[in-house]
Symmetry: C2
Subunit: 88 residues, 2 copies
């Protein structure tokens, strides 16, 4: 039992917005990146309460939806930067 998983309802536009930028840390991540905090270590420092793993996951979702762009520099130690795809 309990096999029924009610699908999300996207009949209302706001729900789609929530799908894209909803999540415990996503709004804050968007905000931080917009303010020029680009590197994962800096982002983690700005959100000391969030675990690295979750920040990573949420950044990945933002990237998947095209909200942010991820730039990987082929250097050692690794360097990554996230950029907003939107100019405000």
């Amino acid at each position: 039992m309990y096999e029924k998983k009610i699908p999300k309802d996207f009949s209302c536009g706001i729900s789609i917005t929530f799908e894209i930028i909803g999540g415990k840390w996503k709004p804050c991540l968007i905000d931080s990146i917009n303010k020029g905090i680009r590197r994962p270590s800096e982002i983690a420092k700005k959100h000391p309460l969030a675990s690295k793993r979750v920040l990573s996951l949420q950044l990945k979702e933002l990237e998947a939806y095209g909200v942010v762009k991820k730039v990987i520099y082929p250097v050692l130690p690794p360097k990554v930067e996230y950029f907003s795809t939107t100019s405000i």
Copy 2:
């Protein structure tokens, strides 16, 4: 163990918006009420996949934050209507 519950971060304004209108059905409820679907039974009919209990809970939260106003008519059988507090 696992006593640590990381509190929600409201340092970013969007997070506050999510607190108010976030939730699986809240955006759709706001939309429906705005469109004139006011009575719980009608709302339930419009969202056949959602359970009465959850719709009730989410309406209560919307009411608590002042997003909708609840009007109870002292009649039998009971009659209730929800109104948007915002005119668009």
